[in-house]
Amino acid sequence: MSKFILDLIVIENRKLTDQYVLLILKSPEKLPEILPGQFAQVRVDGSSTTFLRRPISIHYIDYEKNELWFLIQVIGDGTYRLSQLKAGEFLNVILPLGNHFSVPKDYKASLLLIGGGCGVAPLLYLGANLKRRGFEVNFLLGARSATDILQKSEYDRYGNVYITTEDGSMGERGFVTAHSLLKSSNFDYIYTCGPTPMMKAVAAYAAKIKAICEVSLENTMACGIGACLCCVTDSTEGHVCVCTEGPVFNITKLKWQI
């Protein structure tokens, strides 16, 4: 897939919580084909402490409006700057980067998309895409408390949404891997993105029920295009770059102890 450098224009910056914003961006040119799981390298202007670009997942794409969404969690100065962007400002991005989640061959396969924290970001576009292809989609979203469950109404549009919160303020209380759904149902495909401990627990569950499991890794990146070799993870094929061989990995390719 060809990569592009685009100056997107901010249409809206929607504050979701103290820590999260939704950036709705429009492309002056027709957006290229972008697949679920891919990401962009975003240039952060006007931050004296942010030198490199920041990797941000594609949260959603609306090809009709030529719009792209980013879900941003404020972690340090780079994401803080992104969270302060105003409508009308430009954002320079390189995209689409990385590989993508796979689509099951069997359209009757039962699917579960598990996300925690900001890891829910790529799952919206993945769910929308899978639904469009005729799959029934189940989202299982986890967070600390009800306020951190982001964009629920958006996920509702593409599938069944199950929720866990650590404080029980929405959905079931506890971690995603303790949700009753996991006991009552069986799944053929599990897609997950979120904190590593969560993904490891999900991977263990997937192994137990013999589901195919794809995880989306985070990693510190410099180039995002396979040129610097800074973003490696250990795999069955040795060190591979998360920005080109990932961010999505079939769990069997990783050397995780699960």
Binding site: S2, R43, G224, C228, V232
Partner: protein, 304 residues
């Protein structure tokens, strides 16, 4: 349009803008963004005699106006390069230069010898300055006798243009540059990264798996510029300048200080099109100041 041609040994550059080893992959990674034939040359990823897995993750840390890396020369080895990578890049219409590294003198020699056979590789860059490997690497670049030995041997083994990449982690870089010149290098390139460190205060751990790594980016530019200036007054062979170049003005500063050509490293990550922008920017500068040829500004710093 000014004349942008520059010669370095037998190496003919259509312009002085090249990309630095380890920051530009094998060039093809950037083919979506720029017309690779517009730049003067591409220094490909550090290549060693055997495959290397490099260092464990994490290998990167961001620093004020710069970054640390501790990649550790991950590459599939020179044979793989010759068989699989070379065929895919040899027809790019620019100079492809292989950056050669090793843990022993013999490894350098063997690797260089194998590259002799590649028709479309007009030069190699001997990396005697990598701070990210346990043996060899920087050790060769921080001692005059070691530098002398490896350059002498490789000079015998390699027939095309031999560029030697110097380490900035030394008391007196001109000493090493002179030794390298005496042993028959056609050019020197400088600087490689500065040995440095980053710590996460909250976890009280080093950020890099290797504790220390190499600093690059605009933070190091004033140091690189000083070293190019010093070396330009110490050797007669051409100098390729690099270290923190972010725009055409930076590139021109290096040339004024004495560099015949320049490389862009870390800046490629922030703007993948930066190299061609530099070609245009240098041309614009030359026209604006009435220079007919880019060689007119090499070493043209006015210190009266």
């Amino acid at each position: 349009m000014a004349n942008l041609n520059i010669n370095i040994g037998n190496l003919q550059l259509k312009n002085p803008v090249m990309t630095a080893s380890g920051t530009f992959g094998y060039g093809i990674e950037y083919a979506d963004f720029i017309d690779l034939s517009r730049i003067g040359g591409i220094f490909v990823k550090g290549t060693t005699i055997h495959e290397r897995q490099g260092n464990p993750y994490p290998r990167m840390a961001e620093t004020p106006s710069g970054m640390l890396n501790a990649v550790g020369l991950q590459n599939k080895g020179v044979d793989y390069f010759i068989e699989h990578i070379y065929p895919a890049i040899k027809d790019i219409d620019t100079n492809i230069i292989v950056n050669v590294s090793g843990s022993t003198v013999d490894e350098y020699i063997e690797t260089a010898e194998k590259l002799n056979s590649l028709e479309k590789i007009p030069a190699i860059e001997l990396n005697i300055s990598c701070p990210n490997i346990k043996e060899g690497g920087m050790a060769f670049g921080t001692s005059c006798p070691a530098a002398a030995q490896v350059v002498k041997q490789v000079r015998r083994a390699y027939k095309n243009t031999l560029i030697v990449k110097l380490s900035p982690n030394v008391t007196d870089i001109t000493e090493i540059a002179r030794v390298v010149e005496n042993e028959g290098a056609d050019a020197v390139s400088l600087i490689n990264t500065l040995l440095a460190m980053a710590i996460n205060a909250e976890s009280r751990k080093p950020i890099l798996s290797t504790i220390t790594g190499g600093l690059s980016g605009p933070a190091v530019k004033p140091i690189a510029l000083r070293m190019v200036w010093q070396v330009a007054h110490s050797v007669r062979i051409p100098i390729i300048g690099l270290g923190g170049i972010m725009n055409a003005t930076d590139a021109i500063e290096f040339m004024l200080a004495g560099a015949s050509a320049i490389q862009i490293g870390t800046a490629n990550f922030i703007d993948p099109t930066i190299s061609v922008k530099l070609v245009d920017g240098i041309n614009e500068y030359l026209s604006r100041h009435g220079f007919k040829s880019v060689s007119d500004i090499v070493g043209a710093l006015d210190i009266s």
